[in-house]
């Protein structure tokens, strides 16, 4: 096997048993408990193949992304809970969860301020835009949340609007080449909004 790590995770259920879990520990709201269970079930055994469900049909990334979309982050209790749900070792789930830039392991602010730092945005002034945003929020680095917990600032990889570079994203709204002087007001105007769709992680 020339040092290739064992590919198959420890065990998978062939059929779906009720998830034996302290759902309450991670989700006190009974209404949302059902939703969480549904998300897990959907990814535990993904799209059935014509020949029935197979062990590798467990979609770990899909699961992490979906649960992350529900809560905005994957806290430690949540990761441990997912381990029990999937019958995987904590290390296996945590290793995957902690690898990705767009999966957060601690809670973030209600709104996201994202500055794209892809190449096209970079050559068109993303560092200046990022500096302006960081100063407006009084934060230093990507992932920081402002003092009142409203806004979290991110620099992010390409958001796919290279022709509008440099791009600022407030939650899911995209602003192409915004005027730097207007940026603080733009951010402030989002403070009044409800918690918007933050988009996929």
């Amino acid at each position: 096997m020339s040092g290739k790590p064992s590919a198959s995770p420890r065990t998978y259920r062939a059929t779906l048993a009720p998830i034996p879990l302290p759902v309450q520990a991670v989700e006190p709201d009974p209404k949302r408990q059902g939703r969480l269970k549904k998300v897990i079930e959907r990814h535990l055994l993904a799209t059935p193949s014509p020949k029935g469900r197979t062990p590798e049909a467990v979609d770990m990334m899909g699961l992490l992304v979906a649960v992350h979309a529900l809560y905005g982050c994957l806290t430690r209790p949540m990761v441990e809970f997912l381990c029990r749900a999937t019958e995987l070792y904590t290390g296996q789930v945590y290793a995957a969860a902690s690898f990705y830039a767009d999966i957060y392991l601690d809670p973030k602010g209600r709104h996201y301020v994202k500055v794209c730092t892809g190449t096209a945005c970079h050559v068109k002034g993303a560092p200046r835009l990022a500096g302006t945003c960081a100063r407006a929020l009084g934060v230093k680095a990507t992932g920081d949340t402002d003092a009142d917990g409203e806004f979290t600032f991110f620099t992010t990889a390409c958001v796919g609007a290279c022709s509008l570079a440099p791009v600022l994203m407030l939650d899911s709204d995209i602003y192409g080449n915004p005027e730097l002087a207007a940026v603080p007001d733009l951010i402030a105007s989002h403070r009044q909004r409800g918690v918007g769709e933050k988009g996929q992680p």
Binding site: A7, A46, M61, S163
Partner: protein
């Protein structure tokens, strides 16, 4: 989900709104809503369609109108509040002269009459240098519609392939000379042959739509505009290699792509195009959609497979290649989505014309144009087109999107993402071609072209890419994990004017260690931006050693407070 069962007759007037990601970012959703409102109020039957992307990112949002008996007209930079007036005018007083948003008209067919004084799209500089094959349907058809795709010859390729033996399919791909479009440029037929020759009967095919290169968005355009073409290519790959399971892998951030692929796959399953007995041939295939979440390394094939297995995406040593031992230890073919689209196009056309299609003069490559270029967008050019023609004729040369920086001069172009490094003006006559670009120390890779004008500092950009690579390094092997971080530190010193001349030599040495010692393609290519900047823009480095940045860009960045 648009329902083909409720599809209006084809003789209805049709309104198309381009809803690719860049269109949506520019406000296409508002344009679509305004058009829907207008259609509701109009007292006639109109078919409102969401299409993919025409490739003209610089004219988004794009709206098209097709009246029966007339040619199809493309409008660009349409604002939501202009939609009602624009539609009223087009429907009731079809004189388009002097309407500022008119981009052009598509070539009329024999039944329809063109508009006077409106240029054909193919006459526009942006399109005249292109040869659209993979993009021929992009922006024209409804990506949510299976009928649209089949009307254009779709799923004819897999039908033709299923009439052949797998070995014949592989031979035909070999004769076409198709090489992988994702970056490596390996012969697709070699990969397929290797997988098919494995004794292990359980094989897998994977479409790699991760597209992590900053500045690359052609795969996204393809998947958003013509998802069935990729699915069909994957089906052909599965038939040719004897695989019964397939995955399409893309990034979670591409929400539009994911939605359209989900719709397309659901249609295929519903119609029996995927399942146990495809087109009555007995061929069985199941395709699942999988996603990653913000990791550059996932585009590397062994890392991608690790993700699918639920492991963190760290590359494995090759060989064994995935075609020998891949997903769950079984032979696995990983092809880029653009490669697969090429495959599906190849099998639609008659063998004679297709055989020369992907290695010879007819072959095309998708390129993403961005940065300091007048007309950013996704274009498809014949292999062998000089870079100069792509950037200056098709892309309109150096400029911003009306930023008033048209007076700036061309400085460099970054080819194929970070892996390709920078090419200076003196190498602009290099053709867009795998071998030619390799010969000048670059790579065609993902086909991203980011144009840099003379306000940019090459040392600053080299540092930017090194930081990107250091962030993207998965940390598995030392040369890449430690090396890229050391690279950033060295470049930081140079940018800040604290370095000595001797350090440039150390820098070059360090680049060599990372290139030669790293495990996977990411690490091996990581120092390319630095080495190419050193080769072509040595004077910029010397100026920094002497204590000043020739463009002032580095000073500006520092005062802006890099976040």
């Amino acid at each position: 989900m648009s329902d083909d069962a409720q599809r209006p007759p084809d003789n209805y007037p049709r309104i198309f709104v381009g809803t690719g990601s860049c269109g949506l970012a520019a406000g296409a959703a508002g344009v679509f809503d305004a058009a829907r409102q207008w259609v509701r109020e109009a007292s006639q039957d109109i078919h409102l369609v969401r299409t993919g992307c025409l490739g003209m990112c610089h004219r988004e949002p794009v709206l098209e109108i097709h009246l029966p008996g007339r040619s199809r007209v493309v409008y660009g930079e349409v604002r939501a509040e202009q939609v009602a007036d624009l539609l009223t005018r087009h429907f009731y007083q079809p004189e388009l002269e002097g309407v500022p948003q008119v981009v052009g008209q598509r070539a009329p067919d024999h039944e329809s009459r063109p508009y006077e004084n409106v240029p054909l799209l193919t006459e526009l500089a942006f399109f005249s240098g292109q040869r659209q094959r993979l993009l021929a349907r992009a922006g024209r058809i409804d990506p949510h519609s299976l009928v649209d795709y089949e009307t254009e010859g779709g799923y004819g390729g897999i039908r033709a392939a299923l009439g052949m033996k797998p070995q014949e399919v592989r031979d035909r791909v070999r004769r076409s000379g198709l090489s992988g479009r994702g970056g490596g440029g390996f012969l697709t037929a070699d990969k397929w042959e290797l997988a098919a020759s494995q004794p292990d009967g359980q094989r897998y095919v994977i479409a790699n739509g991760d597209e992590g290169d900053p500045g690359a968005f052609s795969d996204r355009t393809l998947l958003e505009s013509d998802p069935h073409a990729v699915i069909e290519g994957l089906m052909i790959a599965a038939w040719a290699t004897g695989a019964s399971r397939g995955f399409i892998y893309t990034r979670a951030a591409y929400a539009t792509v994911i939605h359209r692929l989900e719709v397309a796959l659901a249609f295929c399953v519903k119609r029996g195009y995927l399942g146990d007995n495809i087109f009555g041939s007995g061929f069985a295939l199941d395709i699942q959609l999988r996603k990653g979440s913000g990791s550059y390394i996932c585009g590397e094939e062994t890392a991608l497979i690790a993700t699918l297995e639920g492991r963190p995406p760290m590359p494995d040593e090759k060989p064994p290649r995935p075609a020998q031992r891949g997903f769950m230890g079984h032979p696995t073919v990983v092809n880029n989505v653009e490669t697969l689209a090429c495959v599906s196009h190849q099998f639609v056309t008659p063998p004679d014309s297709a055989d020369q299609a992907d290695g010879g003069a007819a072959a095309t490559k998708l390129l993403s144009l961005s940065g300091a270029i007048a007309r950013p967008g996704v274009v498809e050019v014949p292999l062998g087109t000089p870079l100069r023609q792509v950037i200056f004729d098709i892309g309109g040369g150096v400029g911003g999107n009306g930023n008033g920086d048209a007076a700036r001069k061309f400085k460099a172009v970054l080819v194929g993402g970070p892996d390709g490094g920078f090419l200076p003006a003196s190498l602009l006559d290099t053709p867009v071609d795998f071998a030619a670009l390799r010969a000048v120390g670059s790579t065609l890779g993902s086909g991203a072209l980011v144009v840099v004008d003379d306000t940019a500092c090459m040392v600053g950009l080299a540092r930017y890419f090194s930081r990107f690579e250091a962030d993207a390094s998965c940390g598995k092997c030392v040369p890449c994990r430690v090396g890229t971080t050391r690279l950033v530190e060295r470049l930081d010193r140079i940018v800040q004017g604290r370095a000595t001349r001797a350090e440039l030599t150390t820098l070059e040495h360090l680049c060599g260690v990372i290139r030669d010692g790293s495990l996977c393609g990411l690490g091996r290519a990581a120092p390319t931006p630095v080495t190419t900047a050193l080769t072509h823009f040595y004077a910029d480095f010397e100026a920094h050693i002497a204590g000043h940045c020739p463009t002032g860009a580095c000073d500006r960045e520092q005062t802006a407070g890099e976040a």
